[in-house]
């Protein structure tokens, strides 16, 4: 099997993250975040490494909008697709997630086949960072140049 793409799962419920992790672990490397701040820290700390984000629509402290704002500010919206995790089939909730910038919506309870299909589609164009870009990113991280965002709002 080839190199695995990395997916960030941001869900306030631990057991929700665990279920997704178990469903996707064979196909993807998984990073986990329990709130918006953790998600932002992982996105900022691993530039170019995250192929997609599965984000709870009800992430604590408006995490969905925080993450979307960060991706917009850093011109990453087209590169890092966000799929919103929702607990209902209500159109209004789905519409809210799309309006916030999600490329797709995944309803609970999860269906493994559907999630894998969606992720395959939305990460098809993902390009793994090269050795150089990885080293560069790490160096930037060491130099503290990655702090292009500030938790809690736009700079």
């Amino acid at each position: 099997m080839g190199r695995k793409k990395t997916i960030l799962i941001a869900d306030g419920l631990s057991f929700g993250r665990q279920i997704l992790k178990l469903l996707l672990r064979e196909q993807y490397e998984i990073l986990e975040a329990a709130d918006g701040d953790e998600a932002l820290a992982l996105l900022a700390g691993r530039p170019g490494e995250i192929a997609a984000v599965l984000l709870d629509e009800q992430l604590p402290e408006d995490g969905l909008h925080e993450v979307m704002a960060y991706l917009s500010r850093n011109d990453l919206k087209a590169k890092v697709p966000v799929l919103a995790l929702v607990s209902t089939n209500e159109t209004a909730v789905h519409a809210r997630a799309y309006a916030a910038g999600a490329v797709d919506v995944i309803e609970r309870p999860y269906h493994q086949g559907r999630i894998l299909d969606l992720l395959a589609n939305h990460t098809a164009r993902f390009v793994f960072p090269t050795e150089d870009s990885g080293a560069e990113a790490r160096a930037r991280r060491v130099r503290g140049q990655n702090t292009v965002f500030r938790f809690g709002g736009r700079q």
Binding site: L13, G16, S87, H111
Partner: protein, 324 residues
């Protein structure tokens, strides 16, 4: 003795088999959940599902304790059952599994598995799983048969003790089980009365210390989680409003209550009749509510399609339907 649980399980299996979502059978310890699950297993076999596509996980069996993480359990199941065929996972006392919600949620997300699980703890279907699965949980709640008083007192007492020890005290991390027991005793003596946490706290508290209503609420929650008692909220028929702050408790199995605590000091016949009436209405599958103490009604039932019915227990102990 005719076993209603098994007939119920047959009918239920017929209605839920093949539907998406995990299927849960819940109820008091000893009510017949495991027998139902065994029955379902045999039905699946007789419907042509081969043994290699059926996995029974009995959490009481020590061999399952070697799987100490949900990953290990999922990996074992994936290795044991054929990878490209639909299989059935049947879990006895799922709440005893480590990270049961994760195991069930993960299995249910795959087309490969259909999951049936039993639990004598309401907590398994608490916030986590209920929120996650929403209305896709298929749930069969087993209630005691009303004529269960046919089994011996000594057996009923042993059953109560077993439930109290394993399903009430052990999972609830309550440090003073004797106070929990006194709470249950008070409820037995005041069966069918509106529960006041303050009065209950005063009655149960040790001599030199007053328990807080919050502590009492925890005790009640522990008893309810183990299916020993069930809250019956007050309903105001004129406004169609349910109050979550005014409620009575009834014993899920009135005979267990009588066997363990004996008769209440006053009005035992009326209390027992009320409890049996409540159980009878629960058997009908409706939501059952109590009414104000001075009301002409004792219960209001609301069926799934919204039809309301009022019920009154007359002086001879008969339950009569009343127009509301």
């Amino acid at each position: 003795m005719k076993n209603l649980s098994l007939a119920t399980a047959d009918a239920w299996l017929g209605s839920v088999a093949g539907q998406p979502g995990p299927k849960f059978i819940t109820g008091l310890r000893g009510i017949g959940k495991s027998a139902c699950l065994d029955r379902i297993d045999r039905k699946l076999a007789s419907n042509g599902v081969p043994a290699k596509n059926r996995l029974m996980i009995d959490t009481a069996d020590p061999k399952w304790r070697r799987y100490t993480t949900c990953e290990q359990m999922i990996d074992f199941i994936a290795r044991t059952l054929p990878s490209k065929e639909k299989s059935y996972v049947l879990i006895k006392e799922a709440a005893a599994l480590r990270d049961a919600e994760v195991v069930i949620g993960t299995l249910a997300a795959s087309d490969r598995y259909e999951v049936f699980a039993t639990s004598s703890s309401r907590r398994l279907l608490g916030e986590g799983l209920a929120g996650y699965f929403g209305d896709r949980i298929l749930h069969l709640e087993l209630l005691p048969e009303e004529r269960r008083a046919e089994y011996p007192l000594v057996e009923a007492r042993a059953r109560w003790n077993e439930i109290f020890l394993y399903d009430v005290i052990s999972p609830s991390s309550i440090l003073e089980p004797h106070l929990l027991h006194r709470t249950a005793e008070w409820m037995s003596d005041h069966l069918g009365e509106t529960t006041s946490l303050r009065i209950l706290a005063e009655a149960v508290s040790p001599t030199k210390r007053l328990l807080s209503p919050h502590t009492i609420e925890r005790y009640l929650d522990a008893l309810e989680t183990a299916h020993l008692v069930e809250r019956c909220c007050r309903y105001y028929p004129e406004d169609g409003v349910v109050s979550s702050r005014k409620y009575k408790y009834f014993f899920t199995d009135p005979f267990l209550r009588l066997a363990h605590f004996g008769a209440a000091p006053e009005n035992e016949a009326r209390r027992m009749a009320l409890n049996r009436a409540w159980l009878h209405l629960r058997h009908l599958g409706a939501q059952v509510y109590c009414t104000e103490d001075a009301s002409e009604l004792d219960f209001v039932s609301i069926a799934a399609h919204g039809e309301r019915a009022g019920w009154r227990l007359d002086d001879t102990g008969k339950l009569r339907q009343v127009m509301i």
